[in-house]
């Protein structure tokens, strides 16, 4: 079956611009997670959704970052007034439920470069 997909695969933008990153989870998965992976680091949690609601957004670095999942499927991560430090790979993952024992399946990521 189809896995998690993310678009675009690469995004280059200028400092101060607005970007949107899209994630399409595995069909039927109710939980959706966003992580950020900086060069040479492990992924770091940003936010997760159970259904349509953001159940935990404690990993978002500041209020320039926002994510939505209006219909409980596709999610969009939005970054306002981008900064060079936002450059990273943004990973999306989904799982059947938001429980610790559930396996998360990851998309290929969006590589964001802020010039």
């Amino acid at each position: 079956g189809a896995g998690v997909s993310q678009t675009p695969s690469n995004k280059v933008t200028e400092k101060g611009k607005y970007v949107e990153l899209r994630c399409d989870p595995i069909s039927g998965h109710t939980a959706l997670y966003w992580y950020r992976q900086s060069l040479g680091q492990g992924p770091e949690f940003l936010i997760y959704f159970q259904g349509t609601g953001a159940a935990d957004d404690s990993g978002l670095p500041n209020d320039r970052f926002f994510a939505v999942r209006p219909e409980g499927s596709v999610s969009t991560l939005k970054i306002q007034r981008t900064e060079r430090g936002d450059s990273a790979v943004y990973l999306c993952a989904s799982s059947r439920y938001n429980q610790g024992r559930e396996t998360q399946y990851f998309g290929p990521g969006t590589r964001l470069l802020v010039l």
């Binding site: 939980a31 949690f45 997760y48 429980q99 990851f106």
Partner: protein
């Protein structure tokens, strides 16, 4: 604080030899532990997980991992390494809030030489 440590930045092994990639964790309560592999410019691929039960967990591509509660470790192993196993490996533990939020180690690069 909850954390995962992968003490080795890189592991080198000859093809056909056994390999071990180390992971230790710190989490309150019973841990749910995962191993993922990442190939260049690809997302993370799930290898295996420990939830409960047998301490030796078998996963994809011939990999296995041993959960050791007393040493708080979850080392990844394979009896005979392949060149195609060369990749970046991440150990992760599920946050004790049981929401599925994963805490990852820094990653270990495995280099298998012919």
């Amino acid at each position: 604080a909850q954390s995962v440590a992968q003490p080795e930045d890189q592991v080198n092994v000859a093809e056909g030899n056994p390999l071990t990639v180390k992971c230790t964790y710190s989490v309150s309560g019973n841990p749910y532990l995962f191993w993922y592999v990442q190939y260049p410019n690809r997302g993370l691929q799930f290898l295996l997980k420990y939830i409960t039960g047998d301490n030796l967990v078998k996963g994809s591509y011939g990999f296995e991992a041993e959960f050791n509660k007393s040493q708080t470790s979850f080392h990844l192993k394979k009896p005979s390494a392949l060149v195609s196993d060369s990749a970046l490996y991440f150990c992760a533990v599920s946050d004790s809030s049981n929401t599925g939020k994963l805490i990852f180690g820094q990653g270990t690069t495995l280099q298998v030489k012919p």
